[in-house]
């Protein structure tokens, strides 16, 4: 009972802060900005928050954090828009949404896809907010149990599962994962500082830029493919059937949304990589348990609902380590910590007790912000879908220009633009070879973390590899990975899979 009363008194304190007119105003400004930058390909929340940081100097601390947080989760809503409409994920988390979302758009179902994404995100955001309010401190303790060995096993599981992202050949998907892993090797070795595959460019010392890679292999490649043959160019607007999901759509999205929310909430808490994994993991789970896995990659609504719920839940719960420990789970959280310091607040375990109105105000504002986002995004769907009617002679150059501005803004570095061009070409070649870019992206994201944690775990255990199976959490994760492998290659399952492909052929 005590916990419940405490929660209510905390939440009422929070809503008291969050509902102040000035805070509501800046919360709205934040989510609006977030949606806009999310929609503009390439411009991510990190760059936007960095640019807006100085403006918040003169705000009250709560107001400033509420606005910055709004930008972050607002971008999660907006990011799915371009992924669905033009196959251009601005962030790793929406790369998965592009797989089925874009196919839905090509079938004239951009409206339902966008509505699914918005509704799923809203649900997930609301649940994750309650989760933060209820369990933030105990969840942090669990996250801290994750050492290098556990992370390694988690990444292993992620990689094994990533093959399920492919809708075509398993072999090609494996190949893509490996290319992704190799691309992830570029840069300074964390342990020794040795340069790997940087070919003398200091610009490559920190590795290839994720945004440049994603924009290139997804967006630019898609534009190139569309330029191939004038008569083949896709005019999607012809086939737009309805803007709102049908009854069947709603039925189909409920369970995936719930599962995606649960997965995203759990993985989002883990500092570093957790939130990235969540959308990939949610998609994989849906495809695994679906009775009709062959629909995935061809416009399955579950393939939009699950990862979108997962990434929004993950975005929300990634605030937990930041709020309770002052530890950033990703670059955006690092900026939030910077914002707190500039405001004279020492981020860390004491924020909740020393500044309860700020702590709970921020949490309450997340729910208000999510409500604003769904109200903002649903009416916009019609507008976004009409965007597809813009002639491609205007749309394509505009997309390329925005991509370049976005990529340049990350590090103010022209080198990243050459990278976009190179990856655009690579992406085009891959499209021609029927290879899908999503597993490549996952390999690229997970590879460096896998290596880093493997070496770190081995360093701490002084070269003893049993550490991965003697630590219970790590052993469990590895077991699940093995189980997934077995299921993938079990004769019965393979037969079913082959059958599926024959049906298609």
């Amino acid at each position: 009972m005590d916990i419940v009363t405490e929660l209510f008194s905390n939440l009422s304190l929070g809503f008291g802060t969050a509902a102040l007119p000035v805070n509501i105003g800046f919360c709205f400004l934040g989510v609006l900005l977030g949606t806009l930058i999310g929609v503009l390909p390439g411009i991510g929340p990190t760059a936007t928050i960095a640019m807006l940081l100085p403006i918040t100097f003169n705000f009250e601390p709560a107001t400033s954090l509420i606005m910055l947080a709004g930008i972050y989760y607002g971008a999660q809503y907006g990011g799915s828009t371009t992924a669905i409409l033009i196959n251009l994920p601005g962030e790793s988390s929406s790369a998965v949404t592009a797989i089925d979302g874009y196919q839905m758009a090509r079938q004239g179902r951009a409206g339902p896809a966008l509505a699914t994404a918005a509704l799923g995100s809203f649900f997930a955001g609301s649940v994750a907010t309650i989760l933060i309010a209820l369990f933030a401190p105990p969840l942090t303790e669990i996250a801290l149990k994750f050492g290098p060995a556990e992370y390694f096993s988690l990444m292993m599981l992620g990689l094994v599962a990533s093959v399920a992202l492919a809708s075509g050949s398993v072999l090609k998907a494996l190949g893509m994962v490996v290319i992704g892993l190799l691309l992830g090797l570029v840069g300074s070795d964390v342990n020794t500082g040795a340069q790997r595959f940087t070919m003398g460019f200091l610009e490559l010392a920190d590795g290839l830029n994720f945004v440049a890679l994603a924009v290139g292999v997804f967006g630019i490649a898609e534009i190139l493919r569309n330029l191939e043959n004038e008569s083949d160019r896709e005019v999607m607007v012809k086939k737009v059937t309805n803007l709102w999901p049908s009854k069947e759509d709603f039925k189909a999205m409920i369970a995936p949304t719930l599962r995606g929310t649960a997965l995203g909430s759990v993985l989002g808490i883990l500092p570093g990589g957790g939130a990235v994994l969540s959308s990939f993991a949610a998609y994989t789970v849906e495809k695994r348990i679906s009775k009709t896995p062959e629909r995935f990659g061809k416009g399955a609504i579950e393939g939009v609902a699950a990862p979108e719920s997962a990434n929004n839940a993950g975005a929300q719960t990634s605030f937990i380590p930041m709020l309770t420990l002052g530890i950033p789970a990703n670059p955006v959280m690092a900026l939030m910590i910077g914002a707190m310091i500039i405001q004279g607040i020492q981020p860390g375990p004491n924020v909740a007790t020393e500044k309860p109105e700020l702590f709970w105000g921020l949490i309450a504002s997340m729910w208000i912000g999510n409500l604003m986002l769904v109200l903002l995004n649903l009416p916009l769907i019609g507008l976004w879908v009409r965007l597809l009617t813009v002639p491609y002679t205007m749309l394509f150059p505009a997309i390329v220009a925005f991509c370049c501005i976005g990529v340049y803004s990350v590090n103010s570095n022209a080198f990243d633009l050459y990278a976009v061009a190179a990856f655009g070409l690579l992406g085009y070649v891959l499209v021609k070879l029927d290879c899908e870019p999503a597993p490549l992206l996952l390999g690229f994201v997970l590879g460096p973390m896998l290596e880093e944690n493997l070496r770190r775990a081995m360093t701490i255990s002084r070269g003893d590899p049993t550490v991965f199976v003697t630590r219970p959490l790590s052993a469990t994760l590895l077991l699940i990975a093995v189980a997934v492998l077995v299921i993938t290659f079990l004769p019965a399952v393979r037969a079913k899979r082959d059958e599926v492909f024959q049906e298609e052929a």
Partner: protein
């Protein structure tokens, strides 16, 4: 004749220079921070830039040019027009990059004009909450007896925590297992989680965890106790004399920037460092602004030269390179 011409040219130069300096700054100034936004150096830069901008009557815009341990951003400024509109705020890495990088894209001692020191952020030696030793002396004994199992975390090659670790090991003459991380955040996560044993890092990263009792603090690497953490002994008090180490930050302009402009910047920096808001925010970060005597071109140059001399042998002896 030549002398006359030279004098004329010099006079013209001075005139032109002062004419430019009179109107300087007439547009916003870019301050390059060679690290990503949100980190300690970025925070320090933004606080100083805001105060300096008010004094100069022009906004100072921060541009984060991260990568390669700060050398990309420094290289960008080294190649910029020396017109006073592109400045650099860099930390101790300006000195340690000299031995760490075999191919620096600029000549550290000849590519910049010096505006002044900004702040020296103290460092603290801290251990996981469950680490047995309670003071620095027993920590040193513990480290020596358990040198095969003790792990020292750092935030990557060339980071402040890496440098402090090198110095600590060379003083103890005990090589330890080092666990590198990509940045101070993940390293602190694992220290709080008890995955690694100890680290020596900036107060900006450690203060809140120390205050919350999540980690153990053994010593501060400065001559006098910290106002923000008065219970922590200095390294000398705790039994490790002359173990002074700060992450000093300085402001630079490209070589050839006119002395008048540099003087204006130095004056604005000195004023900014006395701004009550800057002093207060720096205190929250566990540091203090440099004094007026330190916030001068000469003091910064002397610091840079002495730090290059100090760190080159330590880094060379460890045999580490960042490229």
């Amino acid at each position: 004749m030549l002398k006359v011409m030279a004098a004329a040219v010099a006079a013209f130069g001075v005139l032109a220079g002062s004419a430019v300096a009179d109107t300087y700054p007439s547009r916003p100034i870019t301050l390059v921070v060679p690290f990503s936004a949100g980190g300690p150096t970025d925070t320090v830069s933004r606080l100083v830039a805001e105060a300096m901008g008010k004094d100069l009557g022009q906004q100072i815009v921060i541009e984060n040019v991260g990568g390669a341990g700060g050398t990309l951003g420094a290289g960008r400024v080294a190649k910029s027009d020396p017109d006073g509109y592109t400045l650099l705020l860099h930390h101790i890495g300006m000195a340690t990059s000299v031995p760490l990088y075999r191919k620096l894209p600029y000549d550290t001692l000849n590519a910049f004009e010096y505006v002044g020191l900004v702040t020296e952020v103290p460092m603290t030696i801290v251990g996981r909450g469950s680490l047995e030793p309670t003071d620095l002396k027993s920590l040193i004994d513990y480290v020596k007896t358990n040198k095969d199992t003790v792990t020292y975390a750092n935030a990557g090659v060339g980071s402040a925590s890496h440098l402090c670790g090198l110095l600590f090991m060379s003083r103890l003459e005990t090589p330890l297992t080092t666990v590198p991380y990509k940045g101070a955040g993940p390293a602190m996560t694992d220290l709080v989680g008890g995955q690694v044993d100890f680290i020596c890092d900036q107060t900006t990263n450690t203060t809140s965890q120390i205050r919350a009792g999540k980690i153990k603090a053994y010593a501060a690497t400065v001559k006098e106790r910290l106002a923000s953490l008065p219970d922590i002994p200095t390294a000398a008090e705790a039994g490790l004399p002359d173990f002074n180490l700060t992450v000093w930050h300085g402001m630079y302009a490209p070589k050839g920037t006119s002395p008048e402009i540099v003087a204006k910047l130095t004056a604005a920096l000195q004023k900014a460092l006395k701004d009550p808001n800057v002093v207060k925010r720096f205190a929250d970060l566990g540091t203090t602004p440099s004094t007026e005597a330190e916030a001068t071109p000469d003091a910064l140059k002397a610091k840079l030269v002495s730090e290059i001399e100090r760190w080159t042998p330590v880094i060379k002896a460890a045999g580490v390179y960042a490229d």
